[in-house]
């Protein structure tokens, strides 16, 4: 039996290797099909992840607010943030607001970290630059307009307050402090000189604040306290987001809230996008399968005479079907492997070009691609082979 099997393999190998040009034609069709399956498959599964990262250009989708009557402490932020997987966390920015006046016009100052705000509010249009050190300020467009200042100008913020015992006044110049002779209370007109490094334009309420560093706001108020609000940007599904929010809220240190308009719309658009890729993949795949089938039909039809000859040499139908099917399956397997590799390369290229980051490799898609292309090729061969083996060898061998 061994010898017979060896001859079987020898025949199939010869057919695949020596009929190279025809096999390449068939193989190409299968490779294209498999590439589309593997490539679009990977893209399909990666679209939500990649796209939700794009949606983060919308900015924060969760906000933390203090529980009744307090401020948000660094510890509370840390423990709340630890609920969110670091791979999904785009960034978070704590805000501390203080009412002050600049050149006698009341202005709300917001103390923020300028590196993290670029993550949570990527849509800010900055004319000029983000402040890079203390003593610098980023003005909202409306504040800048009402102050009549532009980038590069110097302004000074003034904060008047009553000095309490727990304040460290060592950094405050003598001349800013004065005592109310009537009550003996000490007051302070604390001033901070700032350079305008940029003006932020958003079309929204962000334009109504002036942004300085957290150090500066602490210096200006002489009070160390927590934050008023934390903006958090998380690239995840809306289900996950609700879970994180529930979990954070159950801790009770602060109250987390989903920004509904962001998360609701995002889910909707993402679902549409994913089903778009799905349907496109399905349509393209069906058409490519038909293409593979017609190609295989053509390849088999070409060999009717050979099938007739084999029958004349005494082959029974089942052994001919077996031989030709094995050829098809080997072809499908090779095409599937190459297609899976090319599909991965394609998906990777798309991902890097479109989203600027690599695709998540999905190992399961490789065997699926190979199995599907073997099945499709096999099925595509079966019908023409079944037709071909029923031909009368005498007719085929006699010529047209």
């Amino acid at each position: 039996m061994n010898k017979k099997r060896r001859m079987f393999i020898r025949m199939i190998a010869a057919s695949l290797v020596r009929r190279r040009s025809r096999m390449v034609v068939a193989l190409l069709a299968i490779i294209v099909g498999a590439t589309i399956l593997a490539g679009l498959g990977m893209i399909y599964y990666d679209v939500p992840r990649q796209m939700s990262a794009q949606f983060r250009s919308y900015g924060a989708n969760i906000i933390f607010m203090p529980s009744e009557g307090t401020f948000i402490s660094d510890d509370a932020i840390r423990s709340a943030i630890s609920v969110i997987p670091s791979s999904e966390l785009e960034g978070y920015t704590p805000y501390r607001y203080e009412n002050t006046s600049i050149h006698n016009i009341p202005v709300t100052l917001a103390g923020i970290d300028f590196t993290s705000v670029q993550k949570t509010s990527p849509y800010w249009h900055i004319e000029g630059e983000y402040p890079s050190s203390d003593g610098e300020v980023l003005l909202g467009a409306k504040v800048a307009l009402s102050l009549g200042v532009k980038t590069g100008d110097k302004i000074s913020a003034l904060n008047s307050f009553e000095v309490t015992d727990n304040m460290d006044v060592s950094t405050v110049p003598e001349y800013e402090m004065y005592e109310d002779p009537a009550t003996g209370d000490v007051y302070c007109d604390h001033q901070l000189d700032l350079t305008v490094t940029g003006i932020v334009e958003t079309g929204g309420s962000e334009e109504e604040y002036a942004y300085i560093s957290l150090n500066d706001i602490e210096y200006l108020t002489l009070v160390k306290r927590g934050y008023d609000i934390v903006e958090v940007s998380v690239a995840s599904t809306s289900d996950n987001l609700s879970q994180y929010v529930t979990k954070i809220n159950s801790d009770g240190q602060l109250s987390a809230k989903l920004i509904k308009r962001v998360t609701a719309s995002e889910t909707e658009v993402l679902t549409k996008l994913q089903s778009l890729v799905f349907i496109v993949t399905a349509v393209v795949l069906i058409l490519t399968m038909i293409c593979v089938a017609t190609t295989m039909t053509a390849v088999i039809a070409e060999r009717r005479r050979e099938i007739g000859l084999r029958k004349a040499l005494g082959a029974d139908n089942s052994s001919i079907v077996g031989e030709f099917m094995s050829e098809g399956i080997v072809l499908g397997g090779i095409g599937g492997i190459l297609g899976a590799v090319l599909g991965y390369v394609f998906a990777q290229l798309v991902s890097i070009n479109v989203f600027g980051s690599g695709i998540t490799f999905r190992p399961l898609l490789i065997p699926i691609t190979i199995v599907v292309s073997v099945i499709v090729t096999g099925a595509a061969c079966l019908i023409p082979i079944r037709n071909a083996v029923n031909v009368d060898p005498a007719l085929v061998l006699k010529g047209e």
């Binding site: 294209v32 079309g203 658009v269 549409k272 089903s275 349907i279 349509v283 190609t295 070409e302 394609f346």
Partner: protein, 433 residues
């Protein structure tokens, strides 16, 4: 004779020709469907993104200049207003078809029966707007029901302006309603500037943001309470826009610096900045600005989606191309014996080549025509399943597909023709195969 031979091919070899035609049709249908979807996906996704709300805000000139920093004490400052009637001007601008929804607003602080204050916003819910200008009538149904489609109605229902005209109704935010124990159907007395109105609460909404602590009512009610009848403070506009590029960024800085040609191109492209510009042209006393948070992310997502679709389209076209040229090649090769016969009886290479090419291209054109309509069907299937709306068919696609198919067919015929030219008639006619 040429035609007789060709007729012979189509009658005797019809099965093979049919197979070529079918493959070409499949390829053409992929190309048609994908190209149309690709060209239309921008608009479709843009419509989906409208769920983000308005991306342009129109405010009075001076309101834009003097900031709302003084929000806390409203009385101290002069807030300018726009005439409510001007809202209709939005329907007259060049890109009016891209404006999907808009709603004018006026807001004020009102005192509730318990003495506490809340923000009241008067706006359109589903207003039927009729606007007359230069003998033309413009009509549109629009309002915040579309602009705030992320609102959850937790109690009652949306305020249907067209059904309850002349009656005093309001919708209350969930946070406020919870705090005050307000339910749908309740009556609420609102007081501002010495004027009182009793409104019926139509529904309680949860917006997931600050708006949940406010009250929304119809424009006339709010105007009456503020004493600013016929006036509004701002208009929220939701428009379908093209992603920003280098031109639009330069234009946003200063439209006057563009060359005439660039300016025309900018004006006639639906950039958020050109739409804002056109709104300002139509309502000179107002200033229109992009809501960056929304305009920017929309642009980005749109750009990514279009790029993604074009790459997928490219792959599908590549697949279709290879499939077609494959089959054309093997289809022609199958006829080697017959073609060798032509050669044996004295046909020149050129004659055979012309014969084969003409036959193949006629087949391809028939296939491509069928494929175009099949592709149309596929595009509509995609449009209706994914976006529940038709995909617009572009004439350009028909042209591209036609050129592509002819090019691919010719390309696919090259190996076959080279083989024909090499054919020695005796080999084929007497050979073992």
């Amino acid at each position: 004779m040429f035609f007789t031979m060709m007729k012979g091919t189509f009658t005797k070899q019809w099965k093979k020709m049919l197979m070529i035609a079918v493959t070409v049709a499949l390829g053409a249908s992929i190309a048609t469907a994908m190209l149309n979807v690709m060209l239309d996906v921008g608009d479709k996704i843009n419509e989906e993104l409208k769920t983000y709300g308005s991306n342009i805000v129109v405010q009075p000139q001076s309101e834009a200049v003097v900031s709302k920093l003084y929000d806390l004490d409203n009385d101290d400052i002069t807030v300018d207003y726009i005439n409510e009637e001007k809202t209709g001007e939005l329907l007259t601008i060049f890109w009016h078809n891209n404006i999907t929804d808009f709603a004018p607003e006026i807001a004020t602080e009102v005192t509730l029966p318990d003495g506490e204050t809340a923000t009241l916003t008067g706006t359109w819910f589903n207003h039927h707007l009729e606007f007359y200008k230069k003998g033309m009538t413009y009509e549109r149904d629009t309002g915040i029901i579309n602009l705030r489609n992320w609102w959850d109605i937790v109690d009652g229902e949306w305020l249907d302006e067209q059904a309850v005209e002349g009656t005093l109704y309001a919708m209350v935010g969930k946070d406020l309603a919870d705090a005050k124990g307000i339910k749908a159907g309740d009556e609420l007395v609102l007081t501002a500037n010495g004027v009182s109105e009793t409104v019926t609460v139509k529904g309680i909404f949860d917006s997931g943001d600050d708006e949940s602590a406010t009250i929304y009512t119809t424009l006339p009610v709010a105007q009456k309470l503020t004493g600013k009848e016929g006036l509004i403070q701002k208009i929220e506009v939701s428009a379908i826009t093209s992603p920003d590029d280098e031109l639009s960024e330069r234009a946003a800085r200063n439209p006057n610096l563009l060359s005439g040609e660039e300016r025309d191109l900018w004006y006639c492209t639906a950039y958020v900045s050109s739409i804002c510009f056109q709104i300002q042209e139509a309502i000179p006393e107002a200033s229109a600005s992009a809501v960056r948070q929304i305009a920017d992310s929309e642009g980005k997502i749109l750009e990514k989606t279009e790029l993604l679709m074009s790459l997928i389209t490219f792959l599908s076209l590549l697949g279709a191309t290879l499939g077609i040229s494959n089959l054309v090649t093997s289809g022609v090769m199958e006829r080697a014996q017959e073609l060798a016969l032509h050669k044996a009886v004295g046909a020149t290479n050129v004659q055979i080549t012309v014969l084969v090419l003409t036959e193949t291209i006629i087949t391809a054109i028939i296939g491509a025509a069928a494929g175009y309509f099949l592709g149309y069907a596929f595009a509509q299937i995609i449009g209706h399943t994914v976006f529940s709306s038709s995909i617009e068919m572009s004439g350009m696609v028909a042209f591209i597909v036609a050129v592509l198919i002819i090019a691919v067919t010719l390309l696919g015929s090259i190996p076959a023709i080279r083989m024909i030219l090499r054919l020695r008639p005796s080999e084929v006619l007497h050979g073992g195969h």
